[in-house]
Symmetry: C2
Subunit: 135 residues, 2 copies
DNA sequence: ACTTTACCTTCCAGTTGAAGGAAGGTTTAT
DNA sequence: ATAAACCTTCCTTCAACTGGAAGGTAAAGT
């Protein structure tokens, strides 16, 4: 299977698949024309990567997950640990974004949004803030 | 004021301040020793940037906000539009992360996390999925 | 057979927003 | 005098791709 077909099957762009090869995530065979040749196994791997990436795992975490996946003697605890760590990072990220959202929402709500220059949003951004170091 | 002091005052690392200069966000004066010299105005701008960045505005959005801030004849509607667009992006991002979180949470919960190899997390990542394109 | 179109190849540059470090000049403190 | 704490510029690296150029190959149309 050529890279185009592998892309279609895996849901990953061809560019990305080449990139994954470059960083050692996957190693397709090569045909006589030097075209990459993907087996169903390869496509399976690609889909694994696609799914893991879509859940927000980093490339490095994907690498670890793949290696666990291919390790028959793995302990599910190791997988769970990875997944749980990632879950916590996501929750952390959500909390940060939610905090930004709350502040922004207030600012947006407090702004008239008309032709006048007066703007609580800019006022907030520009406010000196409580300088803890005195002055 | 030297860059170190400006860093302390603004809450931005000196490295970042130099970077902001490189990309044209701020233009400090230079002393005879070629050291950058920041006025209170400059520091004020830096703090503006710090605050906007902390709310997740991109550098480019910061640029626009700064330019609105310095434009006496601005319309608050323009600021509100920018802020609102950003707010929507944040909410979008939160929704994506929340969706990842929900899936991951289920997976983590379903995994024993013991010494056995069997692991629903990997099973999920590896599952072929419903192939919509037939076969 | 010829041509167009649709693939494929490699390589290089750009993206975002910095952080890290080397090599060296300056200033301040001891 | 000398050490430390600054400052300077320049270059490299990070994640995870994406886009494009220049060129080779294959399949389809005429």
């Amino acid at each position: 299977m050529n890279i185009g077909a592998a892309a279609t099957e895996s849901g990953l762009p061809a560019k990305t698949i080449r990139y994954y090869e470059e960083i050692g995530l996957i190693n397709p065979d090569r045909g006589e024309n030097s075209y990459r040749d993907y087996s169903d196994q390869h496509v399976h791997k690609l889909r694994f990567l696609q799914r893991a990436r879509s859940l927000g795992f980093s490339i490095d975490e994907c690498r670890q997950l793949m290696s666990l996946y291919e390790d028959d003697s793995r302990a599910s605890a190791d997988v769970k640990f990875l997944a749980n760590k990632h879950l916590e990072e996501i929750e952390q990220k959500i909390a940060e974004l939610a905090s930004m959202r709350d502040v922004l929402k207030n600012l947006v709500n407090s702004c008239h949004g008309d032709a006048r220059a007066e703007c609580p949003i800019l006022d907030d951004l520009a406010r000196t803030g409580a300088k803890l170091h005195g002055n």
